[in-house]
């Protein structure tokens, strides 16, 4: 009965592996990141494949930001202030982030936000 009331604690499951059933939503693709390439070029293959999903995720965050600050000022601040911050980030992360923004078409400030989100989230 505990699995029907929060926190829905189940008996310890067995035989879930290999992954299957309703808790398994799919396998994960493999990519190579070549560290011998210039930082700006390292993520091109990944981003070319995942561009649409990245744009969708960023859009969802922007919708949340708009819900919080309807005036759009929050997003404006991200798009104006965070690009200024990218050069303060250590190498090679700054150049890799620039490469991702260029390959995905997502504004640089928003890619920076995604990459420092762990620290920002505490706000």
């Amino acid at each position: 009965w505990t699995q029907y009331v929060p926190p829905y604690t189940e008996d310890c499951l067995t035989d879930m592996y290999p992954p299957k059933g309703p808790t398994f939503k799919g396998a994960v693709s493999w990519y190579t990141v070549d560290l011998d390439l210039p930082p700006r070029k390292r993520w091109s293959a990944v981003i070319t494949d995942k561009k649409t999903d990245l744009v969708n995720m960023i859009e969802a965050i922007k919708e949340l930001a708009d819900a919080l600050v309807p005036s759009g000022k929050l997003i404006e601040m991200v798009d104006i202030a965070l690009p200024l911050m990218v050069d303060t980030l250590p190498s090679p992360f700054n150049e890799e982030i620039r490469g991702i923004a260029a390959a995905s078409g997502v504004p640089l400030g928003e890619v920076v936000l995604f990459n420092i989100f762990y620290e920002v989230f505490t706000v």
Binding site: P22, L54, V106
Partner: protein, 253 residues
């Protein structure tokens, strides 16, 4: 998040983790799911970082994110990171950064640098414990020898505690969610007790990649925030990951 490092009877170390993210970032009433968590799932990728065509480390990541939250340096160590809540949090680090005090490191840039450059479990542990951070965190580190498994509890400036596997004390695994291990977890978010119950029920004799996946699939260790599960075996240099779902009834966190 839930991260586990366990040592089996033969001394093999197995490292597993659920990556949970998106709390309070928009609830989709129709689908009963968190909006950002669902948007992150298609971005999950496995990455093989190479130099001179040789694997340096491997990682499970979100496309577009250059830092590391989950990774393995084959035959040397495995590393995951869980969020740690503290009033002295990341926003203070960001403020210091903006004001020009830049001697701290961004959390996921540190984990990336350790995976890329550290050459041993001890070196990784030392760097994760001693490098100044912008935000607090838990680092869960597994090595390649018996006893090499630990949870490093970090504030922004200090290494507050390091809990290691200790077979003599019967501690054959370490398990971390998002609360200091010497304190009770928040009563509305106790994933530690069910997680440890399942690990103890599995026993050291039966722990394996398979049974660790079972533990990470049991609610509420698996919850609506869980985007992926990764399983790593350091001695085989193997990393595998799976995108997850949590059918109702399921805890939102």
């Amino acid at each position: 998040c839930t991260s586990i490092v366990a040592e089996d009877k033969k001394g093999n170390l197995i490292h597993g983790r659920n990556l949970d993210f998106g709390l309070f970032m928009g609830w989709d009433v129709k689908n009963k799911s968190w909006i950002i968590s669902e948007k992150l799932k298609p971005l999950v990728v496995n990455l093989d970082f190479k130099r001179n065509n040789q694997t340096v480390f491997k990682s499970t990541n979100f496309a577009g994110y250059v830092g590391m939250l989950t990774g393995i340096k084959p035959n040397i160590f495995t590393l995951t990171m869980n969020e740690r809540f503290s009033l002295d949090g990341g926003y203070i680090g960001i403020l210091e950064w903006i004001l020009g005090q830049r001697d701290g490191m961004w959390m996921s840039f540190l984990t990336r640098s350790v995976l890329e450059n550290a050459t041993s479990y001890e070196e990784a542990k030392s760097r994760l414990a001693q490098t100044k951070l912008l935000a607090p965190a838990y680092f869960i580190l597994g090595g390649n020898s018996t006893g090499q498994g630990c949870i490093i509890t970090r504030s922004r400036l200090l290494s507050i505690d390091i809990l290691e596997i200790d077979l003599k004390l019967g501690r054959w695994y370490v398990l971390e969610t998002n609360y200091d291990h010497w304190k009770d977890p928040f009563f509305l978010d106790d994933r530690r007790t069910p997680g440890m119950k399942c690990m103890n029920q599995t026993t050291q004799t039966n722990i394996s990649v398979k049974t660790m996946y079972d533990v990470l699939s049991t609610k509420p260790v698996l919850n609506k925030l869980t985007t992926y599960t990764t399983l790593m075996q350091v001695s085989q240099g193997k990393l595998e990951s799976y995108i997850r779902d949590c059918p109702n009834p399921c805890m939102p966190w």
